[in-house]
Structure formats: structure tokens, C-alpha cells
Subunit: 464 residues, 2 copies
């Protein structure tokens, strides 16, 4: 489709500049201090969808942040693609580790991105990848080659659990009716190794609080005589993994899907260099569950990680205190068949049960979601595969991701359609980290590949 290349070449500078403007708004959904910015971002998305050719665009109010909905119905008899993405971003801290301010996007060349990469919070996750779809729609409408109907649903709470989206989807099944859901919020193996994500992990995110004495105490007068909430918390967290790094919560593995040897052999064929992996992270060894490879540990196996811990005196110098309270944020990545609410309950009951006398425990569930697997024989997967073959000249590799998009399993349940995860980011793009970036090449490649998906999905739908 020569049109695509030509249009992208003619408009790529504007495509990039529009994204840079979007990235300047700190739409941090986890921090209420940025509420105005999150809402402002929704308005910008609304305008961009209208400019791209959507007919009916609306800001849908929810109990939380608004959802931007837009659609372009060419012909009700044609298939409909529902595009999902999110306009909120992760908090940028630790802020001092950024080489440039997280909300002042800059384009810099890197080893992996000689054409330049856009450095900013949200550049890859997910503003950049979401905006590829907006520009792909513009391309298709402007060049008069939109082959089917399209609906957009862009939310602002993905980084904090998509609570409002669940409510919205459950209450708008008809409005959101579609034949396939298309999402770019994942990655691919490498620029020369296109891949389609066929599996996502579920998530259970909890916060724990350990309370000991009713006030901070002098560690000299009380040290050794009362339970120190921080020492207790470290003991409790440490006990959640055994010496083989298996998680010790009773029942945690009961429903874990065990892949066959042949499936594991298939996975092992994906190009992966342990040395390059360690070098990129500057670590002398990997670490994880005994009996599984690195790629298995971060995709087909459930995990438990502390995402944050705090208590006592953390300022400059020394304070000889025994804190009254200690806290941790703990998340568990789950695999298909593990139910996140059941796992959250198992965690809560177990964590409370291992507390020693002398402390009280509070476990507060933050949010969660189910895992998901896309069958590679589905129409959507076939269409995506063909699209990649055209744009990359290679058959994409099906890949399980360790990440979570909790909403995907809800889509299937409520909307009865499959989700296709066409991700164009790279693991090295540092999403959720300081210096998050997104390759300009990847951004434009996404805009090129997406219209091809529409084309093949419409064709395959006719022939089915």
C-alpha cells in the first residue's frame, strides 16, 4: 500500500510533534495532585480523535477519570475494530534519575534507536503507542482506505487498576460491540524480531501495614524487648519465598497452568541472550524460581515482588528509634487460571496468619486483574500476523508477556471478543522507569502496520 508510506513520509514530523505536545501533560493517575492534568489530557485526546476523522467523540464521565470514546461507522455490515489505550502514566519518581525532565520530551539517538527516541514519561506506555492508532485512523480516513468500522475507548486509570473502565464496559456492552479489540500497550522482542503478545499475566496489588508499640520508641530503652515492626515486616516478607524462590502462600500455585514440554521448547526458541540481558541491567547474575528459565520466570510463572517499603527514620544521619509502624506495597503477577481476587484473599489470610504476637497487621488490596491468553488461530491473530509480514517482512513470533493489562480478560467476558496485542515498544524502553523512551522508528512502524491489520482483518472476516 504505497499510500501508507507516502502519507507517513509527508506527515511524520507533525505526527511526532503532536505526540511531544501530548507528553508534556503530567497525567499521573496515581497521584491526586495531578488530577487537573489527567482531565486535561482527556480533552486533548478528544480533539485528536475528532481531527483524525471520528464522527461521534465524547468525554464519558465515570466514578473516576473520564473515558474518551469515539467511533467511525463506515457500514454496519462491515466488521468493527475496538481500539483500547490509556492516556494516564506512571509516576516519574525517582525523579533525580532522569537525564531530562520526564514531562519535557526530547528526542535523542541511542544505540538501539539510531533514528532517535522520544524520552518522556508515557512516551511508550502508553501515550505513544495509543497515539499510533489515532494517527493510523487519520491516515486511513485521509487516504480514503478505512476498510471497516472503528471505535476508540481511551481511559485514564490503567496505571491504577482501570476501576472506572470495568464499570464503563459492564454498562455499555452495546455501544462497545465489536468483532475484535486492538491494543498497543505491550512490547516486541526486537526491531528486527517482530512479535505479537499472546499472553498476559494477572495482577494482585496489596499494601500491608505492621503496627507494634503505640508510639515510636527509643531503641536503647526498648530495643530487644518489644517487637520491632520493621524487623517483623522483613521476617514476614522474607518468609513469602522459600530457598528455591517458590512462593510459600498455601494454595498459591493450585490453579497455575503448567505448560507442556513442547510449549516450553517453543518458547525457548525465541531469540534471547542471557549475557546481553545481564549486561543491560548491570547485574552479575539473574535470580528467580528454581527450575525455570529467565523468559519463563517473567512470563508463564507467577511472582511476588515488593514494590515499595518504608518505616522508621529515613532522613539524613541517624535516629535510634523503634518505629510504631512499617509498611510495604506488594504485587503478585499471576498466570492464566489464577483468580486475582482469590489470590488476594489467600495472601491476606496467610500474611495475617504469620504475624507474631506483639504486632497487628492490616492488609489493604489496591487493585488487580486476571491473566489472559490469545489463541494464535483466531482471525485477529492471523490478520495481525499478515500485517507484520507486510510491514516488517517477517512472520511475527507469538510471545507471552510478563506484564498485565487487567482489563483484557474483562473485555472477553463482557464484550465476547478476542483482544489482539500489537506492541511496538522494546524491553529497553524503560517503561515505569526513569528515562522512559519510545523509538521514532517504532512509532512510525506502528502507524504503518495498524492500517494493514484493518485491511487483513476485514478481508479475513469476509472470507470466513
Amino acid at each position: 500500500m504505497q499510500h501508507i508510506h507516502t502519507y507517513i513520509q509527508e506527515h511524520k514530523d507533525r505526527f511526532i510533534n503532536e505526540l511531544l505536545e501530548l507528553l508534556k501533560i503530567p497525567s499521573i493517575s496515581a497521584d491526586s495532585a495531578y488530577e487537573k492534568d489527567v482531565i486535561k489530557t482527556a480533552d486533548v485526546i478528544k480533539k485528536s480523535l475528532e481531527a483524525a476523522g471520528c464522527d461521534a467523540v465524547e468525554i464519558c464521565l465515570t466514578p473516576g477519570y473520564p473515558i474518551v470514546y469515539g467511533e467511525k461507522i463506515v457500514d454496519p455490515s462491515l466488521p468493527t475494530v475496538l481500539v483500547y489505550g490509556h492516556y494516564d502514566v506512571q509516576p516519574p519518581d525517582p525523579i533525580d534519575l532522569w537525564d531530562s525532565p520526564p514531562f519535557e520530551p526530547v528526542i535523542k539517538k541511542t544505540e538501539i534507536h539510531p533514528e532517535g527516541a522520544i524520552f518522556a514519561r508515557g512516551s511508550c506506555d502508553d501515550k505513544g503507542q495509543m497515539y499510533m492508532h489515532v494517527k493510523a485512523l487519520e491516515l486511513m480516513t485521509e487516504t480514503d482506505q478505512l476498510p471497516c468500522n472503528v471505535k476508540f475507548m481511551i481511559e485514564g486509570e490503567e496505571e491504577v487498576g482501570s476501576k472506572s473502565l470495568s464499570w464503563f464496559v459492564e454498562n455499555n456492552q452495546e455501544k462497545l460491540a465489536n468483532d475484535v479489540i486492538l491494543i498497543s500497550d505491550t512490547g516486541m522482542i526486537a526491531k528486527d524480531v517482530p512479535s505479537i503478545t499472546t499472553g498476559l499475566r494477572g495482577l494482585s496489588y496489596v499494601e500491608v501495614e505492621v503496627t507494634g508499640p503505640n508510639r515510636d520508641l527509643h531503641s536503647g530503652l526498648y530495643g530487644g524487648a518489644v517487637a520491632n515492626p520493621i524487623n517483623v515486616l522483613t521476617k514476614m516478607i522474607a518468609s513469602l519465598h522459600d530457598e528455591n524462590n517458590h512462593i510459600t502462600i498455601p494454595g498459591f500455585y493450585d490453579k497455575v497452568e503448567n505448560l507442556s514440554d513442547s510449549e516450553r521448547e517453543q518458547m525457548a526458541k525465541a531469540p534471547f541472550s542471557l549475557e546481553a540481558y545481564k549486561k543491560a541491567l548491570d547485574i552479575n547474575a539473574v535470580y528467580g524460581e528454581k527450575g525455570y528459565s529467565t523468559n519463563e520466570r517473567n512470563s508463564i510463572r507467577p511472582t511476588l515482588d515488593v514494590n515499595g517499603i518504608w518505616g522508621g527514620y529515613t532522613g539524613e544521619g541517624a535516629k535510634t528509634v523503634i518505629a510504631s509502624k512499617a509498611y510495604a506495597k506488594i504485587s503478585m503477577r499471576l498466570v492464566p487460571n489464577q483468580d486475582w481476587e482469590e489470590i488476594t484473599t489467600l495472601f491476606k489470610n496467610h500474611f495475617e496468619s504469620i504475624a507474631p504476637d506483639g504486632v497487628t497487621i492490616k492488609v489493604t488490596p489496591h487493585h488487580g486483574g486476571q491473566g489472559y491468553v490469545t489463541p494464535i488461530d483466531s482471525l485477529g491473530y492471523q490478520a495481525a500476523s499478515s500485517a507484520y509480514q507486510d510491514s516488517f517482512g517477517k512472520t511475527p513470533i507469538p510471545q507471552r508477556s510478563g506484564g498485565s493489562i487487567p482489563i483484557v480478560s474483562l473485555f472477553e467476558k463482557e464484550l465476547k471478543s478476542k483482544t489482539i496485542l500489537m506492541g511496538f515498544g522494546l524491553d529497553s524502553d524503560a517503561i515505569h522507569s526513569p528515562n522512559e523512551h519510545f523509538g521514532v522508528w517504532n512509532y512510525l512502524k506502528g502507524i504503518e502496520t495498524i492500517p494493514l491489520f484493518y485491511k487483513y482483518f476485514t478481508e479475513l472476516s469476509k472470507n470466513k
Copy 2:
């Protein structure tokens, strides 16, 4: 000595108001943001010593915060008492747990202090107890009953390790020459149970840093595949105690003094209610080293406590991140014969040795000090005991404290004299905690008891 009672009755309001003014200055030595306030406090102490009758008062500059020195030499042939105290205070955080601002002192009645207690950071530790000595000197000079020579040495770095004081003492042995050192920086068992502290614990305070990957990572994409510095830190800290709460650092107990059964029986006679202790702290059980009582655990046994821990995302909401680094501040309370520098080395070597592959460890010693024991047959102890008998009408109980005054063992080494610890605070005064306070009754009782110590110490010295 009727003079004492009369003078205190006549001047007690001023004694209290002067202390309130002193408590308004936030002399937090651990936080460089308060440098000006710490230095300002030294000036206030200088003026107060001059007003109390000291002849030669000077602000002695040091590599750190200044030391206020003053003396009143009545007759070189008479014995000399060296008074030590500190004008710096602990940081007040967690600030939000204070019922009134930490540096806006207020007097409130409490169950234990029906005569009222002064609520402010430093009210008991140590501005209030240090200032008793200033006022006691004023009383003795104004009523013309100072029986011997006195020297004051008030420092501003006690809460951060007294580094400059060590340097000052080592370089001023002649200036500081004395027959006994008198300190009020400890507590007593109860208002109706006077006690003299005969033992102090040593201290080793370190900060540890665990570094994993070279940047924060997305816990979905990397979770379970790389060492999470926070999980690793919790495992390492947890391993420092065994199931009996013995410390597992090799060699840690080698030099620990083991008290005889009779000594432990003596200790057990001190009035103590475990129920009242638990009620005061609002805990359902005590916790500590197997085989020892609560009073033994916090006095004659060494301990290891985490005083602060931090890493990852600690803000509002959720962030699915694996932190690059995790930190903890850890202090060990030591008993006589344990050398703090040796213990610090044992900790460092052990902590580094238990680090798993995939992380690097940094251990930074903050400060420390040796433990100390005062013989109860010393002149100083006898004089103090007589003083308490006059002012309290009871023989004080010798008591081992769990706290540390690292400088005391250095005094004995450098100045060749014994230290007498006459503390008038109560465990419930919440030193190092929010709502620190000091009973007005205790404050005035200290001012009453101190001159009696001078009297008896001078008499006993003549008869020896």
C-alpha cells in the same frame, strides 16, 4: 538543707520559663538544615552558665558543633565535679503524631505527672535534665553553698555520635581534669522508686544499601527474573535473627558478659509490671531473645534493630516497579566488653557475605560507642545514693539502662574518672518519640538532689 527548698520555691517559675525558652530552639544535630539553630543553642547555654556563676565560659569550636565549656574553681585543693550534658535533640518526626508542635513547649497534666509535664522535643533528652545542673549551680552560688569546684562540658552532637566531643576530650585532658563526672541523661524507675543507672549499652549504627538492576524496572516485565533489592534486603535482615531471636552474626556474642544467677536475681527484684508495660505500649505480647526477661533483654543483652527502611515506590496509590536500590538504617545495642568497632566490622563482613548473586551491598558505619558499668562501691555512687536518700527519702536502686551514652567509656579512658548517671526522667516520657515530655516535679526534684550530691561527694572525698 532548708536553703534548697526555699530557693527552689522562690524561683521555680523562672526555672521553668528559662527551660521553655531553651526548648523553643530546634537544635536537631542530625539534620544540617538546622545548623543555625544548633549553634544558636550553644550561645544560649553559654549565657546561662555565666548567669549561674561560672567564671570562665567559652564556646569551644570543634570540627563539628561547638562545645560549651564553663568552670567555677572555688579552691584547687577541693574535689572537682565535671558536669556533662548535651544541647542537641533528636529529629521530631513523625511530626504528625505530636499533639502540640515539638518546638512550641506546653505544660500539660498527665496521669503520671499531676503537677504538669513540659511537652517538647528535648524536654527530657537532654535539655531539661542538662539545665537542672545549670540551675543547681545557680542555687549553690546564690546561696553560697557550692562545696567544691565544678566544670561544665555541654556538647551539641550527642544524638549523632559525639564525634567532636571525643576529639575535644582527647585534646583537653588537663582542662577537663576532675574527680567525678556527673551526667543526667538517663531515667529512673518511677517517681517513688529512685534509681541510679550503673550500666549503659554500647552502640554500633550502620546504614546498608542493596543495589540490584541499574535502573527501576517494570515489575511485570522483569518480576521474578531478577533479584528485587527490597525482597533481598528483607531476606538479609530477617536472617540476622534466628528462631529464638538470637543474633546470627558470627562472633557477635563472643565477648558478651554473662551475669551470674545472683546478679540476675538482684535485677529481677526491681519493681516491674509486665501487664503495665504492655498496656503502656498497647501491645498484646512482648518479644525478644529466648531465655531472658524483658528487663534483661533491654539492659544486659545486646540487640539488633532496624531503625529505618526505605526503597521503591512509597507514595500514594500503586506503582508496579522493581526498585534499583533498597536501604536500611540498623543499630546494634552492645553490652560491656563488646567493642563497637569490632562488632561493626563483624556486621559488615557478615552482611556482605550473605548477599545473593544479582545484587551488590554497601555497608556504611554511622557511629558507635562502648558500653559502661559504674561500680556501686565508688565514692561517686555513694554520694549520689546519699543525695537521693535526702531528697526522696529512699535508697535508690542501682539499674542497668538499655540506652547508650557512647562518650562515657571514653571519659573513663581519657580522664581516668568514674561517671555517675543521675537520671530523673521516666520511661514514659517518650524521649526520641512524638510528645516527648519531662515532669515539672522531676525537673525540680533534680535541681534539689544535685546540690546534695556535691555536698556528700565533697564530704566523702575529705574522709577518704
